[in-house]
Amino acid sequence: MFRSALRLHKSIASPLAASFRAKARLHTVPSLPYTVEAGVTPLLSPAALKIIYSDHQTGLINRLNELIAGSPYEDKLFYEVLMDSASSLNETQIFNNASQAWNNDFFLRSLSSTPSAMSDALAKRIADSFGSVEVFKREFKTNALGLFGSGWTWLVEDKEGRLVLLNTYNAGSPHHRRRMQRNDETATDHDFASQAQNPYSGVSKYSAPAKLMANNSYVPILCISMWEHAYLTDYGVTLEGRKQYLENFFKTVDWSLVENRVFRASGF
């Protein structure tokens, strides 16, 4: 009897969501701290950012919404969808889309056109694990260039408090042990001596050990997208182009965000 007309329904902004309003809650693409038209200098031009964000991220979210409609994942938060679908092979598509969307967003929102410089505390923390910031940058680049194919290169913290590097291929995620897609867990032997001849093997002494760890073994701190669509527009596929991409990456990372992740709630 009462007044449903007078109650205000908050309409959801996304046009896709409007058509589904009566049925399901949809995921929407989160906004970036910078505009797509401006790009993120010097790393991504507006055209590249459009491909990564406007096309790729939106496509992933739309596909995810399609996939979870009517499934038990329907009303779950994004991170819950990611972690719950990771353990099931039937929901591989859901996990892949969710993980790629998460990785992409994590990557894009760590960038800034006016990044803050690395603070001394963060530099010391990196130096504790790598020796020096220069070594960290060099090893990061080496790991990223050694990722043969599409994937992500991560800086993560492990339970010994050490910052290590991690390569996850395709839509691998450091959150779930079975979905890291590192392509090297089955390797029985890593001879770091061979790094001298093959610096681009993708593993080094600064990499996370190549074995299946428990869940919640790594805390992601920073990542870079080594998917071709990320660097193809501005840098091409040559080795020099990708080296330049990594060079520009370090000029674009907002180190205050990284520091926040490393030091927030530290002391545990």
């Binding site: 995921h27 929407t28 938060l77 991170y79 967003d105 010994e160 408090g161 032997d189 770091f192 709630a265």
Partner: protein
């Protein structure tokens, strides 16, 4: 030579000579590395390259720069709000289409006015203690200030929702003739209790006599055991002037009370008065529905919490099993 290699790139427990399948590789490597290690400028950091746990005790000296272990579960939990913000944003929950009940946060004073909640009693009958809630007088009756009505209603809803969330027993009392359907429907819609006909004195203070005969006994009760009736945790009275005894009983046992207090009632007799007109069926129905909606929301939260807790308990147990080496 091999010893030099191991010390330069000390990989801890990897002598390299053990595995038979890599013997050839090692020989080739040895041959290639024979005179060559000095030519390669491979990174050798100042820190020891061995990431073995025994180095990481907290008594380690400053000069070795070895990071201290972290509690990674806590680290991830601390960073979880940030991690949950990445990827995609889930659209906010729409109001349930099945519920016709208005929410206190979207109620407007115009709605309260339309329901007639502002019409107090004749000024000759007023209770002085209700004066703060009276806006003025018109045509011989006191007009209740609907801003106070709204704020007090919202407060009552918060209390109700919190009690329901803790799993508390909520009792609706509404004994006027034309309003029994209001009491019954609003209570039934949120799985609460109601008294729609006369309040029997002693229902709370003498519960054993009055409610006891109707209370089911515990499954393991011995013969001759009395049933133990329970007390409500919140009492909502829709017409307090006829149910003073109920309010007194609740107060005696420290049970919080909510009531629709008109201008002829002292609002201080209940814990959370809602100054409004208790004569209009439309008005009372609006208030009862809003409170019932708050109870429903509290019930839903309680259900979510208990589901989450049981899921966490199960996962905790599975983690502990895995730590002991059980296969997944």
């Amino acid at each position: 030579m091999r010893a030099t290699q191991v010390s330069l790139y000390s990989t801890g427990d990897k002598p390299g000579s053990g595995s038979g399948s890599d013997a050839d590789d090692d020989d080739i490597l040895d041959a290639m590395m024979a005179g060559m290690d000095s030519d390669f400028s491979v990174a050798t950091p100042s820190t020891p390259a061995v990431p073995v746990p025994e180095n990481l005790s907290s008594e380690e000296s400053e000069s070795s720069h070895v990071p201290t272990p972290v509690d990674i579960e806590k680290r991830i939990k601390a960073l979880l709000p940030e991690y949950m913000s990445y990827g995609g944003q889930l659209a906010p929950k729409p109001r349930s289409a099945l519920s016709n009940n208005p929410s206190p946060n979207t109620l407007t004073i115009a709605q309260l006015l339309a329901a007639g909640l502002h019409l107090g009693h004749s000024t000759s009958l007023w209770n002085v203690a209700s004066m703060p809630f009276v806006y003025g007088v018109r045509e011989g009756i006191s007009i209740i200030n609907l801003e106070h009505t709204l704020t007090h209603l919202r407060r009552a809803c918060t209390v109700t929702k919190a009690v329901a969330r803790q799993g508390g027993i909520i009792l609706f009392i509404g004994t006027r003739d034309g309003m029994s359907h209001v009491t019954i429907n609003s209570a039934k819609s949120c799985n609460a209790y109601y008294v729609a006909s006369k309040w029997c004195p002693g229902t709370i203070t003498n519960a054993q006599e009055i409610v006891g005969p109707h209370t089911p006994r515990l499954p393991d009760a011995r013969a001759g055991d009395l049933a133990k009736p329970f007390r409500p945790d919140l009492v909502i009275v829709l017409n307090p002037i006829e149910n003073m005894i109920a309010i007194k009983e609740a107060t005696r046992f420290n049970i919080p009370t909510i009531a629709i207090t008109d201008t002829d009632v002292d609002p201080r007799i209940v814990s959370y008065p809602i100054p409004a007109n208790d004569d209009s069926v439309r008005g009372v129905e609006l208030v009862a529905k809003v409170l019932a909606e708050a109870v429903k929301e509290g019930n839903k939260l309680a259900l979510e919490t208990s589901e989450r807790l049981s899921k966490e308990r199960i996962e905790d147990r599975v983690d502990r099993m895995k730590a002991y080496g059980a296969r997944q």
